[in-house]
C-alpha cells in the first residue's frame, strides 16, 4: 500500500510540468501558427515555417526531397506545396502553397541578430518540439558550396532526435533563429573537453552530435572527455545570411544572390598569398594574379587566409572593395565589384 502510494506520488510529481516545460509549451503555442508539418505521401518528414503571408514557406532541402509535398497546419488541414526555389549554398528551399491560405497562419518574425549565448530556444521537429539553448551565436563555419566563411548559430540540445535536420529554431519570445542545417559529428570531437558542471557527475562520455554515433569510437577517449552523455550540437546559418536567403526567395525571381569574388588564398611565411582565381569571377577581371600577397581588403589588413575569409563575411553583391596587394616587392591596389555566386 505504501509503495503504491509512493509510486503514484512519484509518477504525479514527475509528470507534473515544471516551470521550464510550461515556458517551452507557451513558446511553442506562440510560434505554432507560423509552422507547418511537411508530408511526403503519408509520412511526416519535417516542418517548415511561413515567411510570407502570400503562402511561401521556408524549409531545408533534407526535408523536401521531392517536388510535391503536402503541408499540414496546426489545425490539421492538409494542403499541397510546390518547391519553388532552392539555394544550394545554404541548403534552404522555398515552398509555396498556391491553392490554400491558412487564415490563422502568420509569417515568422526573423531575428535581426543572433540571440546571445545561453538563450533558451525551442526546436520544432516533425514529431514535436524540444527545448534547447544557443551555445554560440557567432560560430564561424564554412558552407560546402562557396567555401566562404559564414557565421553559424550553434544550438545545443540535451535530447537528440532523428528528425533534427531542417528543424526550425525559435527563441522563447517567438523570433525565428533559423533552420538547423547540420549537426556536429561525434567523430569530430577534437575540441578540448571541460569539467562537467551538470550535477557534478564525475565522468561520462561526451558525444557531440550523432545519436549514439561514434560512441564506440570514443571509448578510447573516455578518460579525456567529460560531460553528459547525450549532448547534441547543431548549427543554423546566422541571421545575416538567413535574411539574405529569405529576401532572395521573396524576390520576383526567387533566387538568392550570394556575393562572390573568386579569389582563394593560402598561408605562406610571407602572408596570405593568392592561390587560385576563378576564371569567371570579379577577381579574374581584376589585375590580381596567383602569387600576389594580399595586404588588405576593404581597409582591413590581412595577414593570413583566415583574415581574408573574415573580411568577406559582410560584403554584399554589388559592393566595391579595394584590395591592396604586393607583387614583386611593389605594393599596388585594385578595386573590384562583388559579383553574384552562380549555383
Amino acid at each position: 500500500m505504501f509503495l503504491s502510494a509512493v509510486s503514484l506520488a512519484l509518477i504525479m510529481g514527475l509528470s507534473y510540468p515544471g516551470e521550464q516545460a510550461k515556458e517551452t509549451e507557451a513558446a511553442w503555442k506562440a510560434v505554432a501558427p507560423s509552422v507547418i508539418r511537411l508530408k511526403e505521401g503519408f509520412s511526416t518528414v519535417g516542418s517548415a515555417v511561413m515567411i510570407d503571408p502570400s503562402g511561401y514557406y521556408l524549409a531545408h532541402k533534407s526535408r523536401a526531397t521531392v517536388g510535391l509535398l503536402s503541408g499540414v497546419t496546426p489545425g490539421g488541414i492538409t494542403f499541397p506545396l510546390v518547391r519553388v526555389s532552392t539555394d544550394d549554398a545554404t541548403g534552404l528551399v522555398l515552398l509555396q502553397a498556391s491553392m490554400f491560405r491558412d487564415p490563422k497562419a502568420r509569417p515568422v518574425r526573423t531575428a535581426v541578430s543572433s540571440p546571445p549565448a545561453g538563450t533558451p530556444v525551442i526546436v520544432v521537429m516533425a514529431n514535436g518540439y524540444e527545448a534547447g539553448e544557443i551555445s554560440n551565436p557567432n560560430r564561424t563555419g564554412v558552407l560546402p558550396q562557396s567555401k566562404r566563411l559564414v557565421f553559424l548559430t550553434e544550438v545545443k540540445l540535451e535530447n537528440p532526435t532523428p528528425n533534427l535536420g531542417g528543424a526550425p529554431v525559435f527563441t522563447y519570445s517567438g523570433e525565428f533563429v533559423g533552420l538547423l542545417n547540420a549537426n556536429l559529428q561525434s567523430n569530430s570531437l577534437q575540441i578540448q573537453s571541460a569539467p562537467n558542471p551538470f550535477g557534478g557527475v564525475a565522468k561520462s562520455l561526451t558525444t557531440r552530435g550523432g545519436i549514439g554515433g561514434g560512441m564506440a569510437a570514443h571509448q578510447a577517449d573516455q578518460s579525456q572527455n567529460y560531460g553528459p552523455s547525450s549532448l547534441f550540437v547543431a548549427y543554423a546559418i546566422g541571421p545575416e545570411l538567413l535574411q539574405r536567403v529569405i529576401s532572395g526567395f521573396l524576390s520576383p525571381n526567387h533566387n538568392v544572390a550570394h556575393p562572390f569574388i573568386g579569389l582563394y588564398v593560402r598561408d605562406t611565411p610571407r602572408g596570405a598569398e593568392v592561390q587560385a582565381i576563378n576564371p569567371n569571377s570579379p577577381a579574374a577581371a581584376s589585375e590580381l594574379r596567383p602569387g600576389d600577397l594580399i595586404l588588405s581588403v576593404g581597409g582591413t589588413s590581412i595577414s593570413n587566409r583566415l583574415d581574408y575569409a573574415r573580411s568577406l563575411i559582410h560584403i554584399k553583391v554589388g559592393d566595391r572593395i579595394k584590395i591592396v596587394y604586393l607583387r614583386s616587392g611593389h605594393e599596388t591596389s585594385t578595386e573590384l565589384t562583388i559579383g553574384r555566386m552562380l549555383d
Binding site: 510529481g13 507534473y16 542545417n181 549537426n183 567529460y226 553528459p228 549532448l231 583566415l306 568577406l312
Partner: protein, 282 residues
C-alpha cells in the same frame, strides 16, 4: 478385551495425562490383560517417537491439548489495525511528492554553461579575439573555479606596477568572461581562492593599488573587488595553485558543413576542423 473407557485411559496413560493415583489404578487394571499391555506399549512407543519430531507442536501430541488450542484460537477476537497506520502513508506520499516537485522546479543555477562540454565551442569567437581563457577551460585537467581565478590574476597580477594598457589588451576579455561565467553558488569559493592567490603573491596583491578610474581595468576591477571584498580571512597559505593551469592556445576550429547527410538526424554533417586545414575564400 478393551472397552472404550480403557482405551482412552491407555492413551492418557501413554501421554502422561493421568495423575499417579489414576495411573496406578489403570496399571493394576491392565496387569492381567496382555492385549491392553500390548496396546499401552504401542502408545508409549508412538508417544516417544512423536517427541522426536522437532516440528510437531506440543499441542498436537495430545488431542485434548490440540482441541483446546484450536478452540482458544477460534474464540479469540481479531484486533483491527489502528487507524494511525493508514494515516501516515498518504502523509508520507504527499511529502515525497512535495520533495520531488520542488526539486524539479528548482531553477537551474545560472549559468549552467560553466565548464560545459560545449563551452569550448562557445568560446572560439572570443578566442578569435585573442583570449586564452577559453583554452584554459578546455583543458581536461583544469578545475574550473580555481582556473578562473588563476586566469584572472596570473596574467595580470593586481599591482600598481602593471601597465594598464597592457592589461587592457591581454586580460580585458578574460576578466569579462569570468564575470559572466562564474556561478553565484561558487562565489564564496572563488573569493577564498582569490584570497589565497593574493596571499601567495604578496606584497603585490593589494586591492587599493588597482587604478579604479582606468576604464581598461573595469572588468578586472569588478571581478577582483567582488572576490577580495567578500573573501573570508584564511591565514594559511594554500599551495593548491602550485600546479598552474596551462593556458593552451589550441588552433582555432571552424565548423565545416558538408553535403553528406547524417543518417540518424537527416541533417548535413558538420565537423570541427582546425582552421589551417580548411579551404576558405570566396
Amino acid at each position: 478385551m478393551i472397552n472404550n473407557r480403557l482405551h482412552d485411559r491407555l492413551q492418557q496413560l501413554a501421554n502422561g495425562e493421568l495423575d499417579p493415583k489414576q495411573e496406578a489404578a489403570v496399571r493394576a487394571e491392565i496387569s492381567q490383560n496382555p492385549e491392553a499391555l500390548s496396546l499401552l506399549s504401542q502408545y508409549t512407543e508412538l508417544r516417544s517417537s512423536l517427541t522426536l519430531l522437532q516440528d510437531v507442536p506440543p499441542d498436537q501430541l495430545s488431542k485434548e491439548r490440540l482441541r483446546s488450542k484450536l478452540l482458544g484460537q477460534a474464540l479469540r477476537t481479531e484486533r483491527p489495525a489502528p487507524l494511525w497506520t493508514w494515516f501516515w502513508m498518504p502523509t508520507a506520499a504527499a511529502a515525497m511528492a512535495f520533495v520531488v516537485y520542488f526539486n524539479r522546479t528548482k531553477p537551474a543555477e545560472a549559468p549552467n554553461i560553466v565548464g560545459s562540454p560545449s563551452l569550448a565551442s562557445n568560446l572560439p569567437a572570443r578566442a578569435d579575439q585573442g583570449s586564452t581563457l577559453s583554452k584554459a577551460f578546455a583543458t581536461p585537467s583544469a578545475k574550473p573555479l580555481t582556473s578562473y581565478v588563476a586566469k584572472v590574476t596570473t596574467p595580470a597580477p593586481i599591482s600598481s606596477s602593471v601597465d594598464p594598457s597592457n592589461v587592457e589588451t591581454n586580460t580585458g576579455p578574460i576578466a569579462h568572461e569570468v564575470a559572466v561565467l562564474i556561478p553565484k553558488r561558487h562565489s564564496g569559493e572563488i573569493a577564498r581562492s582569490a584570497r589565497r592567490h593574493a596571499k601567495a603573491h604578496e606584497p603585490t596583491s593589494n586591492i587599493a593599488d588597482i587604478p579604479a578610474d582606468a576604464t581598461a581595468w573595469s572588468d578586472l576591477n569588478n571581478v577582483a573587488r567582488t572576490a577580495l571584498n567578500t573573501a573570508n580571512p584564511e591565514p594559511e597559505k594554500v599551495t593548491a595553485l602550485a600546479a598552474p593551469v596551462t593556458a593552451t592556445t589550441s588552433p582555432e576550429s571552424i565548423v565545416v558543413i558538408s553535403n553528406s547527410v547524417d543518417a540518424d538526424t537527416g541533417a548535413q554533417h558538420a565537423t570541427e576542423e582546425t582552421a589551417s586545414n580548411v579551404l576558405v575564400g570566396g
